[in-house]
């Protein structure tokens, strides 16, 4: 299962399974959880469906509700919430075919960090950089498979790409 024999096939199979799950997910979502465009295209079919809308932009708001735009599709959301035109939001709500609006369940503003708090968005990047550097301290990247012309049986011959270099317990 983890040997070098048929490595290309194993890599291909793993990628196929991983992408297959992703395509299955997208396909299943289309039949069980439509997006805003799907709801507006077939309102009767999706009446009462729970919607999760990412990164919508508030176009206008009033005392009764507000108007959003998401992926080029606009929709009315009721009741009103603490949002203003121009805000970016994530929201969950229930689609109502009668009147074609979304009954709001939950809304969150996104990208709302201001001032020094904006530096917090750098933390994940720093964590990721540190983790990758730590990995490269212990493993050497050797893309032998791409080095055509090396003498057979030479150092590092084979399809390996990440070789453990440091001994166990090395700092």
């Amino acid at each position: 299962m983890f040997g070098d024999r048929g490595l290309g096939w194993k890599l291909g199979a793993a990628l196929a399974v991983a992408l297959g799950l992703a395509f299955l997910s997208a396909r299943r979502a289309g039949s069980t959880a439509p997006d805003l465009l799907g709801c507006k295209a077939q309102p009767a079919r999706w009446d009462g469906t729970m919607l999760r809308i990412h990164s919508a932009r508030v176009v206008e708001s009033d005392t009764a509700g507000f108007e959003i735009e998401s992926d080029g599709v606009s929709a009315r959301v009721v009741p009103a919430a603490a949002v203003a035109p121009g805000d970016s939001i994530d929201l969950t709500g229930t689609f109502r075919a009668q009147g074609q609006f979304v009954h709001l369940t939950e809304v969150r503003k996104i990208g709302g960090l201001k001032g020094p708090a904006r530096l917090l968005s750098l933390v994940p990047v720093m964590v990721l950089g540190g983790v990758l550097l730590n990995l490269l301290r212990h493993f050497t990247f050797r893309p032998q498979a791409l080095q055509v012309g090396r003498s057979p049986g030479g150092p590092g011959e084979g399809p390996r790409t990440l070789d453990a270099g440091a001994p166990p317990g090395a700092a």
Partner: protein, 155 residues
């Protein structure tokens, strides 16, 4: 989504029980793997959120971790697979107990089932206080490790 630092802090705590620094480094890479893949597909490839959902399900991470393990030298692949999978599941476990936007929890075997685990146990709080708390946990564990809890351990 909780800060990646929280997830790393959880993996760091688990990693203190591992003596091999190389294995620990793969575990930490596994913690970042769901986020790298998710953001990569979502932001760089422009795929839909539903397409990316298996990247945040424990079942969906199995083929990606296997794929990642195959990139290591043959003798290291089983250990790399275990460490990558453990790391990615730690990521999802921490994500599952956070008060994430929407219904909360993690779909553990999506798209096979819609069953969830976890829920709104910890507040999803990207504040300095929470970030410093996670950093303090990492620093505390690191100091405790160096003070002799694992004399032969290393980073």
């Amino acid at each position: 989504m909780p800060n990646l630092l929280f997830q790393f802090a959880a993996a760091f705590a688990v990693g203190q029980g591992l003596r091999d620094g190389r294995l620990r480094s793969v575990l930490y890479a596994g913690v970042c793997l769901p986020e790298i893949l998710h953001q990569g597909f979502l932001l760089l490839a422009g795929t839909s959120a539903w397409f990316c959902l298996p990247l945040h399900s424990p079942l969906g991470m199995v083929p990606w971790c296997y794929l990642g393990a195959l990139l290591f030298e043959a003798g290291w692949r089983p250990r790399a697979f275990g460490a990558l999978l453990a790391g990615s599941w730690i990521h999802l476990l921490v994500e599952g107990i956070h008060d994430s936007w929407g219904e909360g929890g993690v779909l553990w075997a999506f798209p096979v089932t819609l069953a969830r685990f976890g829920g709104r146990i910890l507040r999803d709080d990207p504040s300095w206080r929470a970030t410093l708390g996670a950093a303090a946990l990492i620093a505390g564990l690191s100091v405790a490790s160096r003070l002799g809890k694992h004399p032969r351990g290393s980073r």
